[in-house]
Amino acid sequence: MWAAFRAVFAAIFADRAAALLLLGAPLLYAVLYPSAYAGEIVEDVPVVVVDMDRTAASRDLIIRAGATQQSRIVASLASPAEAERWLASDRASAAILIPEGYGRAIAQGRSGQIVLTGSGAHLLRSSSALGGIGAALGSTAREAAFEQARAAGPAAPPAMQLVTRPLFNTREGYGAAVFPGVAFVIVHQSLLLGLALLAGTARERLGAPLSVTPAQFAGLGLAAAMIAMVQVCWFAGFVFWWQDYPRGAAPLWQVLAGGMLFVAATAALVLLLASLFRTRERPLQLGLGISLPLFFLSGLTWPAAATPAPVLWLARLFPTTPGLELMVGLNQMGGSLADYAAALFNLAVLAAVFGALAFWRWTSPRGLPALPVRAARDLSGSA
């Protein structure tokens, strides 16, 4: 068993591509990926104004809208048509339209109407700009109410206020919403591509399906699990802290236990898939493309409530789906293992089923009955 365990590491250090995938990728991605999200919140979205009122009240509104963190006034335009052209050509993400009569309406004690338009090309950017302008409008409205009160008595205060508090990702950064999940897709892909590349290489040299003893298989499994566990600790223990993402909300032993179950299911699937490849480069060709679908299937960005049921079932076949739910829950949301019983069960079933299939593939000397034919075809093709 230990000979097989050591052999895996010897193979990794002797193979530059495998070392890059298993050791280099987690290091590179820990820097590369968060750098895209380093802005964390949306700031200074370009906004255009069309002021057709040209009164003190409208100028005041524009100054306040420009003074918010989320938006930046880039131009003052003459007509709504011009504003639409700015939005269409992507030079601005939102527009404020102040129609004629706005100032007079406020002075007369009526409601001053304005129109806010966000660009559909960037939903997140335009909605946060509109949110910021909305806050600016609130303060304008309070002052307008004060002005009006001198003439007409106080207006009705808004009876109820909605206060929104973010749970779990309390700074509402988008890197903090995405990367704590992406990290586990990286672990999955790094292990899959790295080990399948090694297995494909070994099989190519042997010219026949690999076959190991049960003890050697245990050594392989242990090596795979150890590499993945080191990566999980690297991301959950260091990178989340270094990038200052929400982290370590659950007790340490629970994070470790959850991480081990994710690692077990991942290693089992990786060993099963690794036994299928006959050429060194094939896992990279076929496996790199699935990262993005894996992340979306996990349901972190697109909610399960809006996903069709068959897709949800498909998603449960990959360790990343329950793994992300469990690890984001433990790391970022402060849940305990008991809160994620379904995800734990899902991972345990995957680990058992994939593990059993992988054991059968690696230890039975011939492999699948149809395999020799396909192997011969593949060898002739790649020769």
Partner: protein, 383 residues
Amino acid sequence: MSVFARISNGFARELRFLARNPWDLALLTWLPLALCAIIAWQLSAGVIRDLPVALVDQERGALARDVAIRIEGAPGLRLAYHAQDMAEAERMARAGAVEAIVLIPREVTARAFEGRGQITLYVNAAHSAASSTIQRELAGIIGAANGRVAIEQMAAVLPPGTVRAAPLAASSAIAFNAPASQEQQLVSLLHPALLHLLFMLAVVSAFGRELRDASVAEWRPDLAAMAGKAAPYVLAFMVWGALATGYLAGLRGWTLAGGPALLMTGYLAMFVAYTGVALLLVGATRCMSQSLSLTGLYAGASFAFAGAIFPVDQASSFAKVWAEILPFTHFARLIALDWVSGAEASVAVAPLLPLAIIMLVTGVPGAWLFLRASRRPQDWGRR
């Protein structure tokens, strides 16, 4: 041999190879289809609906019942639980059973008459798409409840003439994407994000394989033969690009605001630019497995850097430069201009220029390096 004959020879030679090798063929046939279909199916709901919400009602009055009915009535929300207290509701949020908690505190109705009523919304900010939908829906619900309180109750207790509409009213809208559907935004970007990665893997494999297997010796390529070799891949992925566009624009009804001609030109320019990068990687490493690993690093995280969903404007200058050298970033800009907002053609063609620059800067040295390696036997057979 004429140029045309050499191109068609290269083309026919590649087709013969693909016909013999089903797994290489998979990379441009069923794999793009399967991955694009899963993403399209998952996001087919478009607008997020029926997100589960827990209501914590500490007051047990008419207001809570009113809010409960309005939550049920809102298309984006579903009242999943009446929780007894905050602790129970938070447990549900951790376990993922609800995406948000609405807290109606004691005596809120009495406080509303003083204008101090407060309803608190806790949203799971770890799930970004869901939390923004919930905030928008609940702001509408509270606004409507406010209107009812103002008319029915406050008008009865306050002296006549004092109940007036609020001094400022804003109507906001999203231009070019009225229902604020995330299907158009996400799917229109995710499909090309998948396609460009698979395309680059296929092209890197096609050229890298020739050096690995030393088949360049028999092939003896020149520029025309290389163009012929790349052509089947460009053609196949142009077909996938057209089908993906047709699905979203035709079948799902997200009409192209600009025109299909410019979008397809953009697809062509993007694929040719990635061909240049693929040649550069293969020519520089002369090793298929390393080029494939680098492809994963270069094109695997494009979606994060394109700045279409989360802006990269505030990210580090490294991230901004990295985004600019990814052809996908420029293609995403083209989608925003041509598909979503329908900018004038003179504006919308702008992203084609950087694509052409990337194509030249990578393609010229890439082709030169590959041709040089194709004549140097010591560069062949590297793994």
